[in-house]
């Protein structure tokens, strides 16, 4: 059997096996995330005051110890023309500012308790009884956006061989490895290959002032997001400085790894069978071949949504879906939690005489899932006192801060 066929069969087997094992439903729940810098309680309304784009350099992503741009076979190669900085121009920044505005309004409409008075600057809905200006926050958004795309060609070395199939598999493996190393070192004959590389950087500064007197409600908040990807050509070469590319991929594109994409697709296939309406509404029925280059608009929107989400988390309590991480505490409470029966789990655990760290954690989780954050925090803290080194408990407490 050829090694390729063997791999295919192994893959199919693992998939079938995995999906059959996956009968137990994946338990998720809504996690409440507390605002990092909440607005004064008197602020109940929000108006979009100004949205603009500007020119200037966008700071590069911070080094978080990802290492420097290496790829298989040696150091990553920087292609010409080299790009070593993100410099925003006014027009793309202006166009992107409108997308950031739309993404921000969507996030506020869905997740925030603030009532929107308008969705575009220089207009307001003054019909009917209107709120006192003291209760209104005015939002200013300033955006810098830099994007580049390269549709070019590069020479890739191919070393072709004639392989005697009568040799042992060890010899064949040695020959293949030798070929790969020789190719990465530039041996073989060069063939021109087309590629598409697209990257972008977005910096958005959000300023919130009180409408009545123009006073700052919190210091201006600046968020940045980046994207880089190449389709076709050599994986190791890039127009962007390799170190910057490595940082961007490690910090902003964790969702794009091949394995994560496959696992996500299994979840999607399950959703297609279990909830076809939701599957359609989320657009998961649409073909999404990862070999087709992403469009500049997709990248722009991705970055716009990221900075909007981070700003919203700063000013407003938000909720997001998270996997339920259960600890091996009381078995009955564990079963109730897995069944999303949070109120019954609370009633049951409150009746348990001596609760351990795991039980306190479960109780906190049940309170959190029902939106009772103060109670949740009390029980997470009790769990931490009983087991201070438990990372799951620490993670839960982190959410409450």
């Amino acid at each position: 059997m050829s090694s390729r066929l063997w791999l295919v069969r192994q893959g199919v087997f693992l998939l079938v096996f995995g999906s059959l094992l996956g009968c137990a439903p994946k338990v998720t729940f809504q996690v409440q995330r507390v605002a990092e810098t909440p607005l004064p309680p008197v602020i109940r309304f929000l108006t979009i005051a100004q949205v603009s784009g500007s020119a200037g350099e966008i700071a590069q992503p911070q080094d978080q110890g990802e290492g420097g741009g290496f790829s298989f076979g040696g150091k990553a190669q920087q292609l010409s023309p080299e790009v070593n900085a993100f410099v925003a121009r006014p027009e793309p920044s202006e166009a992107t500012a409108d997308l950031v505005r739309a993404a921000m309004v969507d996030a506020l409409s869905t997740q925030s308790s603030l009532r929107l008075l308008n969705t575009t600057p220089d207009s307001s809905l003054l019909n009917g009884s209107q709120p006192d200006a003291v209760e209104v926050a005015a939002l200013t958004i300033e955006v810098r956006y830099n994007t580049a795309q390269f549709l070019k060609r590069e020479q890739i070395a191919y070393l072709v061989m004639v392989e005697n199939k009568g040799t042992t598999w060890e010899q064949q493996l040695l020959a293949k490895t030798g070929t790969m190393i020789a190719e990465s070192g530039g041996a073989g004959f060069d063939v021109p290959v087309g590629y598409v590389e697209r990257f972008a950087a977005l910096e958005a500064t959000f300023t919130l002032t009180r409408k009545s007197d123009g006073a700052l409600l919190l210091p201006p908040q600046t968020f940045r997001s980046y994207y880089v990807r190449k389709w076709g050509g050599s994986r190791g070469s890039t127009h962007l400085a390799p170190k910057i590319r490595t940082r961007i991929q490690a910090q902003f594109q964790q969702d794009e790894s091949t394995l994560d994409a496959l696992l996500a697709e299994i979840d999607v296939a399950e959703l297609a069978a279990q909830d076809p309406d939701e599957y359609l509404a989320r657009g998961l029925h649409l073909r999404r071949d990862a070999r087709v280059p992403r469009l500049p608009l997709e990248i722009q929107v991705r970055l716009a949504k990221e900075v909007s989400r981070r700003f919203l988390q700063t000013i407003s309590d938000t909720s997001e879906t998270a996997a339920l991480k259960l600890l091996s505490g009381d078995a009955v409470a564990g079963a109730l939690m897995q069944g999303n029966a949070y109120e019954d789990a609370i009633a049951w655990l409150l009746g348990v005489d001596s609760r351990g760290a795991e039980d306190e954690y479960l109780l906190g989780l049940a309170y959190e899932a029902t939106g009772q954050l103060r109670q949740a925090r009390i029980h997470y803290e009790a769990a931490q006192r009983l087991d201070s080194g438990n990372s799951v408990i620490q993670e839960a407490l982190q959410r409450m801060r």
């Binding site: 199919v12 998939l15 697709e265």
Partner: protein, 382 residues
């Protein structure tokens, strides 16, 4: 191995995984709107502005790229916006929740700012319209006709044989070789992205009730070099419903088809957000002692199943039967009795996750019920 075969296997295996878990009849459940729109009953449809439309065709041969941008006049861009708007209206009118009206007054407005300006005129009222829907679209599409390059093994096999030669027979040992060769594989691809902002603006008092900004992308490629095994598995999982529907995936959609597909999906999300909706939820059954009752539930004969199960559980109640009785009550919307049955089952086996799931489902329904009742009542009173 044929790549379409791997794709089908991947999809079928997941489907088997889902189906093989337990028999799960589909129950219809009402879900409240994510945003309370109970005050809004009659909705007018305003204009959908165009943010940007950009369509390009590219061709690549030996790494040399050519681009051909397709120009859209303002009228053509408007026509695309109207197509998107029609899809949103179609879905909205399909729900009995809103009454959708068309008035020239709102359709004539140039953009969202003009709409907001009109509404903001002090004392502005319009007959029988509670809110206006407006939107803005951004569209990009790219078609590529290109070449992939890969190194392929070509098998050269010449079997050993004996042949006659001078002085007798000779042996030819034969050959069994892999000869590698660089192969160019032509491919065509299309990718389209639609960004759509949809807003529901209440007229009096003037406020933005809901605003969504969503993007949908479609990416398809035909031809090209053989995909890796992992890519084949991923593609198989993605293409499952299309394969099941007999779509070969060998034809790229036109721009019109692309826009229609993308806008329907975004509109569905918006409608779910602002309108009460129904969903079909699979509810697993327990392997109870009463097989007839299970069969009745699977075909939707809940009343008959209740009679069977009430008799079966009257004297010696089996927790699995009690749970299945709860499923019947849940299916009929009697959540109080459903919860009682689930709790009775759970009391007999407190570590059973299935029974806890029953309790959890009713808990969720009860949490959503006040909102659901308010939204339903607002429609019944009108």
């Amino acid at each position: 191995m044929n790549s379409r075969f791997v794709q089908k296997i991947a999809w079928i295996s997941v489907l088997l995984g889902v189906v093989a878990c337990a028999p799960a009849p589909l129950l219809t459940m009402q879900t409240p709107a994510e945003i309370d729109t109970s005050q809004i009953q009659t909705v007018a449809v305003g204009r959908f502005e165009v943010g940007r439309v950009y369509v390009v065709r590219r061709a690549e041969r030996e790494g040399i790229w050519e681009a051909h941008e397709i120009f859209f006049s303002p009228e053509q861009q408007d026509a695309i916006a109207r197509t998107v708007r029609a899809r949103v209206v179609n879905l909205l009118t399909a729900t009995p929740y809103f009454r959708v009206v068309f008035t020239e007054e709102f359709e004539r407005l140039e953009n969202d700012a003009a709409l907001q300006e009109l509404i903001s005129v002090q004392g502005y009222t319009t007959a029988d319209v509670d809110a206006v829907i407006s939107g803005k679209i951004w569209l990009e599409a790219e078609r590529i006709d290109g070449l992939d390059l890969s190194k392929e093994d070509l098998e050269y096999f010449n079997p050993p044989r004996a042949y006659r030669s001078y002085g007798g027979y000779r042996e030819d040992p034969g050959l069994n070789l892999n000869v590698q060769q660089v192969v160019w594989w032509p491919y065509k691809s299309v990718r389209g992205t639609l960004g759509l902002e949809i807003k529901l603006t209440q007229l009096t008092p003037g406020r933005v009730v809901a605003s969504t900004f969503a993007t949908r992308s479609y990416a398809q490629r035909i031809g090209g070099k053989p995909a890796s095994v992992l890519d084949q598995l991923t593609a198989g999982l993605q293409a499952g419903p299309q394969l099941a529907a007999g779509d070969s995936g060998l034809v790229l959609p036109s721009l019109d088809q692309l826009v229609a597909e993308l806008s329907v999906s975004i509109a569905a999300r918006f409608v779910k957000r602002v309108s009460l909706s129904e969903r079909r939820v699979p509810v697993p059954l327990a392997a109870g002692s009463n097989a007839t009752a299970q069969l009745l539930i699977e075909v939707g004969a809940y009343q008959l199943a209740i009679e069977q199960l009430q008799q079966a559980t009257a004297n010696a109640p089996d927790p699995n039967d009690l749970y299945n009785l709860g499923v019947c009550f849940e299916a009929l919307g009697d959540y109080g009795l459903a919860l009682t049955s689930y709790r009775e089952a759970w009391e007999k086996d407190r570590e059973n996750v299935l029974f806890a799931q029953g309790i959890g489902r009713v808990e969720r329904i009860r949490r959503e019920l006040p909102q659901l009742r308010r939204q339903t009542r607002s429609r019944e009173e009108s």
